[in-house]
Symmetry: D3
Subunit: 114 residues, 6 copies
Amino acid sequence: MSKIEAFNSYREKMNEEILSHDNKVLKRFFSLDHATYQDGALSAKTKELLGLVASMVLRCDDCITYHLMQAKKEGVNTEEVYEVFSIANLVGGSICIPHTRRAAEVWLELEEKS
Amino acid sequence: MSKIEAFNSYREKMNEEILSHDNKVLKRFFSLDHATYQDGALSAKTKELLGLVASMVLRCDDCITYHLMQAKKEGVNTEEVYEVFSIANLVGGSICIPHTRRAAEVWLELEEKS
Amino acid sequence: MSKIEAFNSYREKMNEEILSHDNKVLKRFFSLDHATYQDGALSAKTKELLGLVASMVLRCDDCITYHLMQAKKEGVNTEEVYEVFSIANLVGGSICIPHTRRAAEVWLELEEKS
Amino acid sequence: MSKIEAFNSYREKMNEEILSHDNKVLKRFFSLDHATYQDGALSAKTKELLGLVASMVLRCDDCITYHLMQAKKEGVNTEEVYEVFSIANLVGGSICIPHTRRAAEVWLELEEKS
Amino acid sequence: MSKIEAFNSYREKMNEEILSHDNKVLKRFFSLDHATYQDGALSAKTKELLGLVASMVLRCDDCITYHLMQAKKEGVNTEEVYEVFSIANLVGGSICIPHTRRAAEVWLELEEKS
Amino acid sequence: MSKIEAFNSYREKMNEEILSHDNKVLKRFFSLDHATYQDGALSAKTKELLGLVASMVLRCDDCITYHLMQAKKEGVNTEEVYEVFSIANLVGGSICIPHTRRAAEVWLELEEKS
């Protein structure tokens, strides 16, 4: 199974488990998270890049994988993704480098699939 | 080996390695860490929930696993655990979601064992 | 003006400014933040302590002030507050000490008022 | 002196002090920081928004002030800024709220000046 | 009152307040914090530089001020301090720049006093 | 394959991938990262210890592995490494313990190889 397939499969299974417990705050939070990246004054594409850079400086690999998938769907190209990587590294420092390596691997897999 | 067994086995082995080096600060720190969660003005149960939410917002999967095990021993139930999850996500944001997924998996394993 | 009065006055003024812009995600997020600390499987008192320890390890002075005020309203006593401080320092490390100093000052002001 | 003037005056004075010590790594880092936000595959405007959201989730008030000033120069409008605020709060959680209050105050000052 | 005098005066007053509450975990933690920076396999000077760089990447201004004072007592010179600053900025990223400005100001005050 | 070999092999492959995209900011940042740890007013050995403690409090396992390898090359001994571990735990708190376990494992592997 590819990195992305493994991520998607686990994500789906565990989100279902979490939401099955009927905690209202978590349900509303998950729903709000989805609403945040819809087209608005800023395009969905720009919002995904914002989500990506935020995930990188906070160093959340799963969040990075998710936003890279969404960015791909929104038509972001490789040069643009690497500019996001560069901003994340400058703002967040060299501790972002290992996450950039894993992000580059995910992006490669997304490119090969398309 | 289950997730929890793997965690416990590695934790025990490496704690032994660390403490074998006789670094006094680390020894005192490990001992103090243990003392912190004893019954006091707040119950051990409440303290484990405090340790859990702190571990979630700081996004330390191993710490989350540890405090979930302790919380289980203190009689915390599933609804309570999910309320801790909800506070962690609100305070710490959507970057806590992937850690919540892994926490939910650990909690499932603890429930199945009991 | 006391530390707490200054905090409350600025908080109220700027929350009004933020919400006046009618950003739906922010509105829902602020409303969800409020709902998170209501009585449930865990008491509102326990939830405020969870909010407090999360704010301390994430080192957010304003959040600490807010949860100390709420904890006071929920009847938390000084010994309990200091046990939360101790967990925050153990989990979050000595970088939490300066925030503990400011938290202790806020708590003193809350005690004197009551 | 306004918040922004105080920030700019201190920033300029201390940057000069720092660079006067002729540390080559810091000089190259400051110069690289400047280069990061130039037009490229992504526009300077988008890059400032990326710098802003990264600063918000990392909760750096001075960095937020700086990127708000740059965003204003790049023609970002209030609705767009608030969408960045909303993403920062969702990703980074409620500990970003106090920084959002201060960001909203800086933005008000920038709007009043223009 | 200078920045350093204000820091020292508040630190002393609030540490006294904190320790007056007789929370054993906090007392042991404060005492352990002190023991951590004593001469050992590494010199006290090197340990203060380690404490300084850790405080900078974690962006704790009060901790930075404290370790700069201790570093000064241990005979650290300006060139060495700036090399610590450079490592902190590289590892921790541009969000460390505002803290570097304040650190540079504190160091100037320490140099002028000596 | 050992932990260290796996790390080195992935690191080399992905750094090559990242640099192949010719993003100038990332290229300059990687080159600057390398320059930061050269001998200067502080020795390369001391700088590696500074990089190590910064990586530990920021909880970046790959960064820790890298600086442990460099520290080994600079002649750092086990007692010194454990003093760095102790400072990291005190400053960064018990959330650093799981990273200390993995760091201790990497150090063991480095010791066995030498």
